[in-house]
Symmetry: D2
Subunit: 332 residues, 4 copies
């Protein structure tokens, strides 16, 4: 249950009530917002006098639910804003992994040349084998910072586990919580304590409900800048790397108030399918798109098969603009 | 392996060779086309002299493969043609089940009013429970025929099993092979002996390879008019009815030469998601779309939750035209 | 809802009531049993006077439900009986496909030598490619009949589609409805009209509910001799052919009254895993086991990798007896 | 590739070679063991002179592979040893969550009374909702330590994320890496630096290959005491909580050299199915079983539906002994 407490009660009283009901207490604007387990279906008599308004829920999707807040939330990334009434699809491009200054600089220049604003690049790679390339770590992160400083781009990179989450929070403009890390409370609780945007990827074995509940960890901890990212489910079909769940995206658009980003590169796993899938994504009216591009995909240290080369990336961007326009959106 | 035999050899000789290699012999235009198991990787010496051209394959996707024929095949449905270079998306609309003359007539009139040409409606319903509505059967089929006669529409309806496939072949303009029936060789082999278009739906537990191999049953039996239809996989996610596999569609577009139709209604299972998913589908540049619509979805005898009412259907059609245009297609 | 009608009412009246409620009317012993959609939750007032007893259900698992009949049903196969209080696990062995008289005779002699009673062998193979071996068809079926006549074995073989179901019903002692055919109402409705045992395999993409509802098609049509067979789900894991669902078996044992058979050969897909999985199955206290064995698996025309050779089969049978005994069962 | 370097070369040289090939260098007994990416298929000429023996692999399952070491590894847990030739199934019992001293003490006494040795209990619960019970944390861990001290039991508890892994390593006898945390390199790398046994649970969306590769993170970091635990996949079947993958267990037994534990409680999700599934597991000849039991499951703060009460637990243990014996194992 979410309860808006009356403005008139003291902070101490609010905290007392929160403790009594094992709830989370937030300031949202001027409001004291209390969230308890969804099992609570009626306002307890002893606190009725302190409650302005309340919302009852079927399950623990609460702050992210359209039932609580029916408009889509806005999130600011650098100089641009997504969500809300913006009708803008933010294209975040760049390599799977930061591999060298030369490589990441070429990606930065590609984006600037196309009028784009946000650069992606992995530094701490969540590889499933200890024997493959694990990413450049902090050194890579510093290269991203350098690109921001030189080109004015926002940067987004992924936290693999809680041991380096504070480095990511410090240096990245958007904190990406990867598909394999999205149940990681060490990460989620740290993200709740910053005000930087947090992009949470859905795990490939994760239900929609669990996905949005990961967002609730961040929202209930006090950070409202949460973005959901669908990047494909693991199914029996192995001719493609994953199965992008656009039915799930339709569900999220209907039931949640969070901006939605799609990652067709990881879903497909093969460059040939990325443009056509990207057009499908953009036609849904989404808030962002993550696309992997590399100056020479064949020699990429990770995800070689799914990265577009720069010519393919440029053509993709051109092809997306009319699709976005056909549903009243613009590519930014 | 596919082999084009020389024009000069006799029919008897061609049949002898086919028998010797357990192959299928087809006339495609003037050509004698022989198809054997994909395991055959080299032309046997004793028939080398009779072979014009040949194609080797990794697996039993052969006639449907882009390796054999790189252009997309055309299929004619009534007065319209899909596939090939048509860049046309055929919108097939109508109720889940034919329920009465009044109901199906209203759907026919809706389509005609929107300039559409093809009416869908189930007569033999593949229900999983024996205790629910099983469809009107032959009586429903005759209502569809009546609509064709009165309104000049093409009709498409589904074969549930082999016991009534000949009725469907006789009366329907497009033979739909349902998701639960697509392994049914009684149906597939019957479809191979007609020249009517056959739309094969992918089973919800069916790999892309098995799906296209079902098409091979029809193609190798002599009917080239095969259409593939993706309608959603069964995954762990149950907030939507199925998970529409658009990664799989990208794979089919890349690897096969058959027209592709999508069915977002069954994938989503809920009317609210059908418009946004339909726009995603159309943005992929597809050959057709199957949409369920009912004069009063709440009282529908099957699939009540996923059918659009007529106003929603009209709005959907309007919203699809600019999306199709943005990728160089037209809605027909 | 299931209703037992009073003995005193006439057949005509019973049929009238059945028609009125779109129900199925069965004779079970002396009882007139009426089954309607599960949506019916209360006995309608106008027929209350004709009803002895009734059962209400959450869904369309009715005749197969433990709520209706709490004891496990018995099914007789040749001279042996499974289910009920028999505590017997029937081992059905034999090749994937009947390939020749010599081959199937060797399998028959293997079984007889081990004191087993039931021979399996496929005749109409549900292959997913038209270009691979499709089975010997009726010729194979006649070889099975010959083995029955010569060795006194019961035989079990699979119906692929409705076009040959009547041949199977005529010649086989147990009618196997394959995983790909289990939604086929042409088959299920034909099976309902015989009294021969019907073994229904769960589809690899089929929910437990749909699986048991397939049994309801046979039960509600008047054939009580239905056996359920779990043979593996299709999941993302591809190092094994399928994923045997023993959690699902525990559910079936708890909720349904039908005998249960397991098929570890198809689930595993590799001979090395069949013995250890078979022991797991037998330890659950099950009514039967289907095991593929071939005189020379390497040259088998189908499923070469998963068939045991005869020595492996003999060792397996010996290893199963103590496991069965440890849960109070015997291998028959 | 795994290479055993000659005893005669110096540590410095060994480290130099390791660095040159981006490899991991281990001491295994007296041996210098070098592991590189599996992509390396031939011993490079320049180090041939330093290599005693080497093993080539298809993928990054190397140290855990039967190809490298064909006997099953032994792991010591307190006073008992599993794996190797022990033929012993270790039953680890206890509540889902440590809830109070009284509760965990009753579980300790239950185990002692049954002659069992290892107590489980969650302290840091990986809940998917921030609003439900999150576990007692360090306080719970200290209760487990108290039980060890008082009853001589070994204890096993789960690390949820890297922020508290060092507490777990310090206090727990077996470090459990949960299904949602098994990709967490912060956890895995920390586990590699202790010699305490590490039990890694397979994620519900994790392939067998990824699962064993998680073990490679620990093995290649220098801790040989790794145990694999299967606890169910997430599939489309929702009548049970997960789908226990015993085909996968057969694969692990065939291809890896690590002890295997099964967790039927989490797989099934319902107490009624735990005993019958446990018997299936034990009949496979496994090294351990994790079973949840609670003094009063109805009031449990997590996983209420799947925990056995103490009477059910006792009956289960009794029923498992003859099953274990039937495959030559004993329950310990």
């Amino acid at each position: 249950m979410i309860l808006h407490l009356k403005d008139t009660i003291s902070n101490e009283k609010a905290q007392l009530i929160a403790k009594q009901y094992n709830g989370f207490l937030l300031k949202s604007g001027e409001k004291n917002v209390l969230i308890t387990e969804a099992l609570l279906k009626e306002v307890p008599q002893d606190i009725e006098a302190f409650v302005d308004e309340f919302w009852v829920f079927d399950n623990d999707i609460q702050l992210a639910s359209k039932k609580y807040r029916s408009d889509k939330r806005e999130v600011k990334i650098g100089n641009v804003t997504i969500g809300g009434q913006q009708n803008a699809t933010l294209l975040m491009g760049g390599p799977c992994s930061v591999e060298s200054e030369e490589q990441i600089r070429s990606a930065a220049e590609l984006l600037v040349g196309l009028g784009l604003t946000t650069l992606r690049g992995g530094c701490y790679k969540p590889r499933t084998s200890p024997y493959s390339f694990q990413g450049m770590g902090l050194e890579g992160l510093k290269l991203l910072v350098k690109m921001r400083e030189e080109y004015g781009l926002s940067v987004i990179t992924e936290a693999r586990d809680a041991t380096h989450i504070h480095e990511i929070i410090e240096h990245s403009d958007v904190i990406q919580v990867g598909a394999k890390a999205m149940y990681d409370q060490g990460i989620l609780r740290a993200c709740a304590k910053t005000q930087k945007p947090v992009l949470i990827k859905r795990g490939f074995g994760t239900t929609l409900k669990e996905f949005v509940q990961a967002a609730e960890f961040v929202l209930s901890g006090g950070n409202e800048n949460v973005i959901l990212c669908e990047r494909g489910l693991r199914t029996f079909e192995t001719n493609t790397r994953f199965t992008l769940d656009l039915c799930g995206v339709a569900w999220l658009q209907e039931h949640t108030n969070l901006p939605i980003v799609l990652d067709p590169s990881h879903a497909m796993g093969y460059a040939y399918g990325v443009p056509v899938l990207s057009r499908a994504c953009v036609a849904m009216g989404i808030d962002g798109l993550l696309i992997e591009t590399h100056p020479n995909p064949k020699v990429a240290k990770s995800d070689a098969s799914q990265q577009l080369n720069y010519d393919e990336f440029k053509q993709l961007v051109e092809s997306l603009r009319p699709v976005a326009a056909s549903v009243g959106y613009s590519m930014i």
